[in-house]
Amino acid sequence: MKNETTNNELLLSVQDLEVDYSSGGSTVCAVNGVSFDLHQGESLGLVGETGAGKTTIAKSIMQILPDHATKRVAGEIFFKNQDLMQMKEKELQNIRGSQISMVFQDPMTALNPVMTVGEQIAEGIRHHQHLDKAHAKQAAIKMLETVGISRDRIDEYPHQFSGGMKQRVVIAIALACNPELLIADEPTTALDVTIQAQVLDLIKELRRQKGTSLILITHDLGVVADTCDKVAVVYAGEIVEIGSLEEVFDHPSHPYTKGLFGAIPDMYKDVARLSPIDGLPPNPTELPEGCYFADRCPHATEECRARHCQLEHITGTHYVRCLKTEQEG
């Protein structure tokens, strides 16, 4: 689904976001200067390695970073021109769930183990759509069926559901609120591809009908190809490449992005071994001076290790953080 997004209103603007955690005496630099804009109706895919800081970015937008572990947060996060970072908890509570809702990566932390799945979906519906108990339950049953779970499971508890069924309950809760911004953190990793397709269709439908904007965090580049119109590739807490789906998928430019595409098993080719990107990501407690990817990069030079480079414009809306790409022009 393509959107003429440029004409739409700016919904979310993240500026120079930085987040540090403290962990066993040292400081983990989880997010290191992330900026991006999201317009109404747009959908942005956030991809990148495990531990790159994607969930931390999402939690920053929701303003739900863990108090005890978060050492420092800096930057601005404008939602409809209001800085969420400056907002009081009370105001945030009104925004969470009804205007911004999040599907968590780990469904169990989001579900209440002692409440039936039906009650949990109905609760959100009652709260946001002002329905009475009986109508909310009917709506909850409908929502459960929309995510492909039969109605006779409505009175069961989360532990009686499979991993993917729990994930679908969380999605049902998030979608029932009709949010303006949906942040979905790995929403379909536990789902088979037919149900995944149904869930992605549901999200597309919501976008089409309500103009909902979407931030989709995923490792699955196929899901991004299907659902997103913008892509940001995150590495070691930074955006290393951002652009439209076409720009990034047709012309992946950062060596890390290229490595990601190279590591996917090919559906139509047989290989004995897959090709992961060599080496390991940098230690987030001791980030290097220069490019964070230099140690794993086949093209890295001394200059790359000495200077940390900025996101540079290549074409259209395509930006890349790489000295080599920059120099090649």
Binding site: E49, T50, E156, Q160, M165, L191, V193, A197, G222, P276
Partner: protein, 317 residues
């Protein structure tokens, strides 16, 4: 020789609305050193099957044989042996680790319990396992919540490998990982298989992964097996209507060519007290009255088993 044979295995769960037939009369066998990929709709019973086979859950009915021996109802010593030889890597790296143990302690725990190692050897052995699974040493004293999803999954793998099992149920072990680390882990699992002759059941929703790692594939639908054959054959000639729908929904990174998806319509089936007959019939575009009769797996072409009474007409066989 088959390392594992399962015959007419059933696992039912009672619930307030009736009995969930999570695994309902499933039979298969896996040769030593092979990988059986297990795919199917979310909630169709893959995890339950894996857990029942390795005795994390009691079976409701059926027979499980390991290395030729009937282990359906193991006595204590047999159970102890099975606990070491059959392992599982879980779907969910978050809840499968004890939050109060450090990474090193987590990996040492099975070593301690087995009493196979001297106390003084434990840290060294844990270090070797961390290395094997690609966990950096600096995480030795970290707690699970301090790790990202990928590293947590590696801890689960290190733990499963600790006692050098013969058989591992890999329940979506790479779903939480980025594609590069996924590639590393898949390579690692395949290397270990080659070196130690390990046998795997590999549960995943990623069909490109299952195609890469499995020798054979079983497709499940609502507690039952609907199609099984060697991997190459399945992707070349999917015969069951559900398998066809499944393969048609694969998303690829090619943004200019999209697969024609077979949409599944119709009522959602429930695994609670299911009616006899094909469980996919309600959503199947080819269903007729005949489909309400029970249908066993049949060998349709050599080595290719399908449970569908219309399989021949649908596929012009």
């Amino acid at each position: 020789m088959a390392l594992l044979e399962v015959e007419h295995l059933k696992k039912y769960f009672p619930t307030s609305r009736g009995v969930v037939h999570a695994v309902d009369d499933v039979s298969f066998s896996i040769e030593k050193g092979k990988t059986m990929g297990l795919v199917g709709e979310s909630g169709c019973g893959k995890s339950t099957l894996g857990r029942t086979v390795i005795h994390l859950l009691d079976s409701t009915d059926g027979v499980i044989r390991f290395e030729g021996e009937d282990v359906t109802h193991p006595d204590k010593p047999t159970m102890h042996k099975l606990r070491e030889q059959m392992q599982i890597i879980f779907q969910d790296p978050y809840s499968s680790l004890n939050p109060r143990l450090t990474i090193q302690e987590t990996i040492m725990e099975p070593l301690q319990l087995s009493k196979r190692f001297d106390k003084t050897q434990l840290p060294k052995e844990a270090e070797r396992l961390m290395d094997l699974a690609g966990i950096e040493k600096r995480f030795r004293n970290a707690y699970p919540h301090e790790l990202d999803g990928g590293r947590r999954q590696r801890v689960g793998i290190a733990r499963a490998l600790a006692l050098m099992p013969k058989f591992i149920v890999c329940d979506e072990p790479v779903s939480a990982l980025d594609v590069s680390i996924q590639a590393q882990i898949l390579n690692l699992l395949m290397d270990l298989q080659e070196e130690y002759g390990l046998t795997y059941i590999f549960v995943t929703h990623d069909l490109s992964v299952v195609r890469h790692i499995s020798t054979d594939i079983c497709v499940m639908y609502l507690g039952q097996m609907v199609e099984t054959c060697p991997t190459k054959e399945l992707f070349a000639h999917p015969l069951h209507p559900y398998t066809k729908a499944l393969l048609s929904a694969i998303l690829t990174v090619d943004i200019h060519h999209k697969n024609e998806r077979i949409l599944l319509k119709g009522e959602i089936n429930s695994p609670i007290n299911p009616k006899p007959g094909c469980r996919f019939a309600q959503r199947c575009p080819y269903a007729t009255e005949e489909c309400h009769q029970p249908i066993p797996l049949q060998e349709v072409t050599p080595g290719h088993f399908v449970a569908c009474c219309h399989v021949k007409d649908i596929n012009n066989l």
